[in-house]
Amino acid sequence: MSAPPPFRHAALGEAKLAALILLLAPLGWLVADIVLERLGANPVETVLHRTGDWALRILLLTLAVTPLRRATGWQWPLRFRRMLGLVSFAYALLHALTWLVLDRGLIWKEVVGDVLERPYVTLGFGAFALLLPLALTSTRGMMRRLGRHWQRLHRAIYVAAALAVLHYAWLAKVERPEPIVYGVILLALLLARLPLRWRTTPVGA
């Protein structure tokens, strides 16, 4: 791989910084709302909803990278994929901690009971448990060490995304359209991969 000209490196660095600021803007907004007490009558619920929403939205953005690259031939979206995945995980971590500490009050008996018996908690916990090893193995060093296993491991993101959508749908009331919208987007992103993979598989291979 030939080294790209230095100005391109600089532009990429700036673009990454800008992307990071953009991705963390909802968190900044949330912190501002906490400080200014603008979270409404049920602030814990508001924090849970916002962090959960952004974890899922950014997870779907992460999954949009490959279809976008294939559809356009652009290579640059790939440079943002790790950041997208890690920021999604950061929101998921805040979501899980908010639930554990502020909502359940660290009452472990109830926490364990919820994880085992309440399907929406089980699904959310499952999604988080799958994202955790992906975040831990996201470094270049881990990529090198795991070799071909790395890609296989990171396919868990599809399962995590599906669990996250189901987690939302299970808890939502009948009148809410959001879980269906996220589900349709996820399905579209997954389907966008299939025909291309088949097309690139050599005949008779």
């Binding site: 906490i34 602030p43 814990v44 502020l102």
Partner: protein
């Protein structure tokens, strides 16, 4: 040439309605803001033209010791799908609910069925203050100072017959004005029901106000049911019809999700919702670190209402 004086005003000279209503709104706002600097509550009360009935309440016997939820919290976090799907939109859309003129039709198994206007409800019955705990099936909770008429006093006027075993409550249906009713998210109109002994229990209230004012639209203006020992969805809002009947009414949530929302819906920490625990509840208006508190059996009204359900399997009749 002088213009002929016809005594009419040219259409161009008439101030368009949109302009003068806007002007009035601005003046009202300016006055309220001016007054509000000194006395915010007074300015607000004047704005809503408090009926005398809600000012001179028979004081509450129960709940004096309870810490009340702030009016701000209880009027900005509402489940009222007719006015919007989430917690914030009902307050924003409250103006779309037209609360005057307003009548309730009372019919079914009674000797003198008929219609009663909201003015006659406010003027014809002594309004009582009732400070009640309020518990939503979603696990949030509040303590609210209501104003209203004991439902049994109201129903007595229509002389229920011995065939009246249940009471059905029907909420407003106005798809033209209420945004949530333009889509069939729920089967409209919203219907709730009580057994006659629940409906005539002294705690059951036909509420006309809260926090010393008329009910805001998002809280079910101008008149709603309040059954303090049951989950909030039983306390139907913006009532237009009350029917005494010999059959158990098919209520909205029970029809929609019978395995999740039972007819009784009594607050009970030992019977969980299929999807979540009912052991703890979260008071509205608390801070981020406030935490949950234990749910009380019958929402704290066990002494008053447990007798209504003696011998019943509460896990089956949830």
């Amino acid at each position: 040439m002088p213009r002929p004086c016809t005594g009419r005003i040219a259409p161009s000279e008439i101030t368009p309605e949109a302009v003068w209503t806007h002007r009035r709104a601005f003046l009202r706002f300016a006055l309220a803001a001016g007054a509000g600097l000194a006395l915010p509550d007074v300015a607000f009360a004047e704005e809503e033209k408090l009926p005398a009935a809600i000012r001179d309440l028979v004081p509450s016997k129960l709940g004096k010791e309870l810490e009340r939820t702030s009016r701000e919290a209880f009027t900005t976090y509402n489940n009222f799908v007719e006015l919007g799907p989430d917690k914030e939109t009902p307050a924003k859309n409250a103006h779309l609910l037209r609360v005057r003129p307003w009548t309730i039709r009372v019919d079914g198994e009674c000797e003198s069925p008929g219609e009663i206007g909201i003015e006659d409800i406010l003027g014809g019955f002594p309004q009582e203050e009732r400070v009640y705990r309020f518990r939503c099936v979603e696990t949030w909770a509040a303590v609210v100072p209501w104003a209203g008429v004991p439902l049994r006093d109201f129903l007595a006027r229509f002389k229920p017959t011995s065939r009246a075993k249940y009471v059905a409550f029907q909420s407003v249906h106005d798809a033209q004005n209420l945004p949530g009713q333009r889509r069939a998210v729920l089967p409209w109109p919203y219907v709730e029901g009580l057994r006659i002994d629940e409906a005539t229990h002294p705690l059951t209230l036909l509420a006309t106000g809260c926090y010393g004012r008329e009910l805001p639209g998002q809280n079910g203006a101008p008149v709603r049911l309040v059954v303090p020992w049951k989950y909030g969805f039983k306390s139907a809002k913006s009532l237009v019809r009350i029917t005494l009947t010999d059959k158990r009414p098919a209520t909205t949530w029970e029809r929609l999700q019978p395995e999740e929302y039972g007819f009784y819906a009594n607050v009970n920490p030992t019977v969980d919702h299929p999807r979540w625990s009912q052991k703890r509840e979260r008071p509205l208006g608390g801070g981020l670190l406030a935490g949950r508190r234990p749910t009380l059996m019958y929402n704290g009204y066990e002494a008053e209402v447990a007798g209504l359900y003696a011998g019943m399997d509460l896990a089956r009749h949830f």
